[in-house]
């Protein structure tokens, strides 16, 4: 949701430095080739489509993620968090017109307003022109009892103004381990209830989305293997950062190559989330931007991430939470049609990933799952500002650095501007409410304290 501008003067400067890279291709990590791909004409060109082997659904490779919808505050410059229905209608109309037919929402998104908003927007179009995906987002323990979870699903149908859901997901299993999955879906009979709805046609495809503990992923797929449940699709996080070639054990939980490989093995179509890591891959170090622009001067930084995520053939759709019309247009251009990542480009992205990883940003995707912080902190804004300053190189810590004064001002003033004083990192009380909600597994209080220590150091050391 944050702007992704890069200071043009810096961009020019770095381009003038003339960054030269020598490419050597490493074939082992190349995503699988495209297969089973069809195309349909659309307003912008020809959108690429994929076929769901279970139902035969022809799904657009670009899926609309309904987690980052525009708010009224964005239009009128206030902090009004109410969704801007008019803007959403326009976005949805444009998406449908260009051939997008997959819309992914959840009862939890946008402070609980997302389902009603997308329901309202889609109800203006024929029901057979699009697929709706929503989730059973029973995170809070008080929603674990069977009747509470059923109530949540029935509310979803009501908000979405429909009597069936094309794709239903157990939402974000993995956090908290298998025990939590059992309490949310198995012990209370909810999984059986959902399977029953699938046989009745109220749910056309049943799947899950995964974040967190890899053992939970393996256990869920084992259920598929031993016939306890048939997963029609699975939603995973996949992008060129997480297509992990380093095989670092620390990254095992987000190793997209493994996650995708397990699905491909079983012929389960994959829905991709976080192809852009919440915008982080649209906001990469300037040296990486330059290399991308050298290869494709007119393609956006984000388009690289989307092309990467759409390249493997077993992928049904790639979700993008598009807030602005220009985001939508850019993605439509990227996917109409999709030009798969070549072997050489794949090797380039691997080097880019290494470069991005080396700059020590906090791996926050600004998904707002941690919010609201009960003590009023604006966690995503704090981490956004911190990451932004790291990417822009405004994190000098040595007062004798000739550029220290400028960087100090850029950091401190920008901090006050993007986060009100009473919502800044120093107000974290370490209650830990946020961390379990983070799909990226960030130890949020620790990161906030890190940011605060840096801020305090800057305040103490006026150049």
């Amino acid at each position: 949701m944050k702007e992704q501008n890069i200071d043009p003067s810096r961009r020019r400067f770095l381009r003038n430095l003339g960054i030269i890279t020598v490419g050597t291709s490493v074939g082992a990590c190349k995503p699988a080739d495209n297969s089973g791909q069809t195309s349909t004409a659309s307003a912008t060109g020809t959108m690429t489509y994929r076929t769901n082997p279970n139902t035969g659904d022809t799904v657009s490779i670009l899926g609309y993620g309904c987690m980052r919808f525009p708010t009224l505050g964005m239009a009128n410059g206030t902090d009004d968090q109410t969704l801007d229905q008019e803007a959403i209608n326009k976005l949805v109309d444009r998406a449908l017109e260009a051939g997008v037919n997959y819309f992914d929402t959840s009862p939890a998104y946008c402070m609980g307003q997302s389902e009603a908003a997308i329901g309202t927007a889609l109800a203006r179009h024929p029901r057979d022109k699009y697929f709706i995906a929503t989730k059973l987002s029973n995170f809070a323990p008080q929603t674990w009892p069977r009747e509470k979870s059923i109530e949540m699903f029935e509310n979803s149908l009501r908000y979405l103004q429909t009597d069936y859901v094309d794709y239903l997901l157990l939402h974000a299993i993995g956090g908290g381990g298998w025990d939590v999955v059992r309490q949310r879906y198995i012990d209370n009979g909810i999984l059986d209830y959902l399977k029953d709805l699938r046989s009745k046609g109220t749910i056309r495809n049943l799947g899950f989305s995964f974040h967190g503990d890899i053992d939970v992923y393996d256990k869920a797929l084992a259920m598929h293997d031993n016939g306890e449940v048939h997963w029609d699709f699975v939603q995973i996080q996949l992008n060129y950062m997480d297509w992990n070639c380093d095989k670092d054990p620390a990254n095992r939980n987000v190793d997209a190559e493994y996650l995708y490989g397990e699905l491909e093995k079983r012929g389960i179509p994959a829905v991709i989330m976080e192809p852009l890591l919440g915008g982080r891959l649209a906001n990469v170090p300037i040296a990486v931007v330059d290399q991308m622009k050298e290869r494709r001067p007119d393609a956006s930084t984000a388009s690289w991430a989307f092309r990467f995520a759409g390249t493997p053939g077993g992928i049904l759709t790639v979700l993008s939470g598009m807030t602005y019309m220009d985001h939508l247009d850019d993605n439509l251009a990227t996917y109409s049609p999709l030009e798969p990542i070549s072997g050489d480009e794949d090797a380039f992205l691997k080097r880019a990933a290494a470069e991005i990883r080396s700059n020590n940003t906090v791996p926050c995707n600004y998904c707002n799952y941690c919010m609201p912080c009960p003590y009023g902190l604006d966690i995503p804004a704090i981490l956004t500002h911190y990451n932004r300053c790291i990417i822009d190189g405004n994190t000098a810590s040595d007062p004798t650095d000739p550029d220290y004064a400028r960087q100090r001002r850029a950091f401190l003033y920008g901090y006050d501007r993007s986060v009100p004083k009473l919502r800044q990192a120093d107000r974290c009380i370490s209650c830990g409410t946020c961390s379990p909600h983070c799909p990226q597994g960030i130890d949020i209080p620790a990161e906030l304290h890190k940011v605060n220590r840096y801020v305090q150091k800057l305040k103490e050391n006026d150049a």
Partner: protein, 505 residues
Amino acid sequence: MLRYVRIALATVAFVAIVAVFVDFTGTAAGWFSFLPKYQLVPALLALNTIAILVLVALTLLFGRIYCSVLCPLGVFQDIVNRLRLSTTPKRKRKPGLFRYSTEHKSLRYGFLAAFIMLFTAGLLALLPQSVAGLLDPYSIFGRATGQFLVPLWRTGASAVASSAADSGTYILDGEPAVSAFSWLIAAIAAVQLIIVAVFAWRSGRGYCNTVCPVGSILGLLSRFSLLKPIINLDKCNSCGSCGRHCKASCINTKEHRIDYSRCVVCMDCINNCSQGAISYSIRRKTKTTASTPEAGRRSFMVSAAIAAGTGIALAADKTTDGGFAPIKAKKRHGSATPTVPAGAISLEHLRSRCTACQLCISACPSGVLKPSAALSTFMQPTMTFTAGYCRPECTDCADICPAGAILPISAADKSVTKIGTAKVDTSLCISAAYGQECHACESQCPVHAIHLVKGDNGNMRPAVDENRCIGCGSCEYHCPVGTSGHISANEAAIYVEGIDKHRII
């Protein structure tokens, strides 16, 4: 010519002193912080010998040039006069708007005597020095500037910095602290300013020559000044123009006498004499001029409530994503003893030296210093930790205080100077009373004086090592109680209780 020199000097001094007040970045203070120190009353309080000697010498040499150049309230009156002139038709303005009046001796020296009594009572700590400060021209000016100009400037600067930042240029290193506007002080400042402005509009420097104790003190010296405007009777055609242009109303044109105790050497008479009969020169012991006093006009003329609210609803399990939890403005927790900045040495020292000019309050980058509403420390700075805390590395208030009420202190000394002790109100603490895990005070304490220990009820509670705690207020500022919307209490659960004498620990 001399008049223009006076105007130029006055403009520079006035702008500089206003800049010291309004410039929250400390740049102006770096250049011009000496100017407030050359104000007479603060210099007397600070026993600033050099400043006092310089002011006495200036007055003995040049007359009351202080009142025309250095005193910001004097220059303010000249600005009011200027406005009056510019709104007066030329036909009326040309012949001059003033006329000679005799000295209001009893009023003038009555005010001076009253000031000396209040000043002495302040030094003896019978009254806060700010009562005498009600008569100090610099403090009157400071209060008006602090209450009206400072908030205005910050709002403007904030807007400018924000638009500059939009284009990638950062001119500030943070949003300015919220200015210490107080209805009480603003009302007093407004009343005093209006009185001075009305005086200035109607009778030029009438205020300076009737009410102002600094004017009266300097008047005692300026009678003997070396240089002064002198009427050359050989050239004078007794047109009376000088008298009608004298804003101090001190030129008796009939008798060709100038009352040098009231003359503020503005040089307007010299400029308006068509005969060139007045010169600013060394007075000769002749009978051409004489100096006797005579003149004048008249004069002019407050609690903390502690609300206690308990009851905490801890945050419900979150069911949706995004949005903000509500936050609110914290109220100062009541304390028996006020907290004052390191450098003030003791409550008594600050109370007896501070004329409540509000300069430290304007200079505080953390928004900690606020004018007191209590009668015993009337309008003097007191510390509140609701919008920020007293950062150990900051010595801005001590650097800037012209009256020696807050004495200079090094950052190293300040960081170990105890000005208060944090006290825990366990009935409000979300950890102690409700078992909510919270490390706010503990983790933000710059001297690591706070540790969570197990309380009687098994919950962790903050315990303060009173020998390490310096009273900076970081804990009170960072305590979520009072700020978090879901907690009903309005004050922090940990707060600073002042101590009457500061000490290094």
